[in-house]
Symmetry: C2
Subunit: 203 residues, 2 copies
């Protein structure tokens, strides 16, 4: 049997460059899978059930909440979104490191439920740089930008609740740090010892 | 100022291949220094004070013990050996990751004194493989080999007290794991937050 994979939770404010770093990480490792969310919202054209989302009715979603099937869930503009534990656990058992790219409140739910999760906060090099990035790409109204900056500031204040903080100065270097964190966490003695048999020479 | 380096404690039984792995690690990182031990034994030809050892008299060593200057120390066939904290702390402050290649009892002393230390146990792939390695290279008497195996078994039973266990199947892969552990530990939020100023956006 493959050695059990990790549950890796990554958060970071919009503008921290998470998506770019995660794509760089995918070039470095082939043992990563993304968790797929469940949602009550209607599928958009080309969205496939089980690939982009697990599309569920409100009734099904409610039952899943009741039966504790979610690592986390939240409501957003009238629809529910959540991470079902089942597929995550199956992939981990097969040896995959399962990546959960998730905002801070969802991450807090996952960390509370799963002390085995590896939590990583991706931070911009400075708040000024974050502001530059958010303003640089946005053609949005000032009010909207200010709202995003306020959200980002709140999110950044949660960094201390994560096991690791990776500062994204350079996407390739940040990806190498994520790679190192995954490799290192798989060497943690607690995890190693979990996977060995009673009577092993390391016990 | 450079970001503070790590104190990295590595133990492992004779035959685990620690020295080979550490030399491979030195090819991967240029930010590592070895800790230098103090000893009361006489210098051998070509041994330099401060480079191979800090050579100290019994009186000086006793004073250092009394003043709590050691991270760990022990007596061995009539002489004392120990790791002075001073140079370790200076190198860490300069940003070096200081490597302490040390047996399990010394490592336990360091871990007790320094919760900031990163402890790594280097293990052979199996005890049978360890025995093969120890017998393969030794022209020693059976009695001596059996003694080494017994010591190795005791040492391996301490693996659970280390934060990480790196199994040395292949020296290059094991070195990459050590490299990853150092990179990851430098991203630990506790360490990161220690080095940032009050009022930082991550607090």
């Amino acid at each position: 049997m493959a050695e059990k994979g990790l549950l890796v939770v990554i958060s970071g404010p919009s503008g921290a460059g998470k998506s770019t770093v995660i794509s760089e990480l995918m070039k470095l490792r082939s043992d990563i899978r993304f968790s797929v969310s469940a949602t009550t919202r209607a599928p958009r054209p080309f969205e496939e059930d089980g690939l982009h989302y697990y599309f569920r009715t409100h009734e099904e979603f409610a039952r899943m909440i009741k039966e504790g099937e979610f690592l986390e869930y939240a409501e957003y503009v009238g629809n529910y979104y959540g991470t079902p534990a089942g597929p995550v656990n199956e992939h981990m058992a097969e040896g995959w490191n399962v990546l959960l790219d998730i905002e801070v409140q969802g991450a807090a739910q996952v960390m509370a439920k799963r002390p085995d999760a590896v939590s990583i906060f991706m931070a911009p090099p400075s708040f000024e740089e974050l502001e530059r990035r958010l303003r640089g790409r946005a053609t949005d109204a000032e009010e909207k930008i200010l709202g995003r900056l306020e959200t980002a500031r709140l999110e950044c204040s949660q960094a201390k609740n994560y096991a690791y903080i990776v500062v994204n100065d350079d996407a390739e270097i940040a990806a190498r740090k994520l790679d190192a964190i995954i490799t290192a966490e798989r060497c943690r003695s607690g995890r190693k010892l979990e996977s060995i048999a009673e009577g092993d020479f390391l016990l």
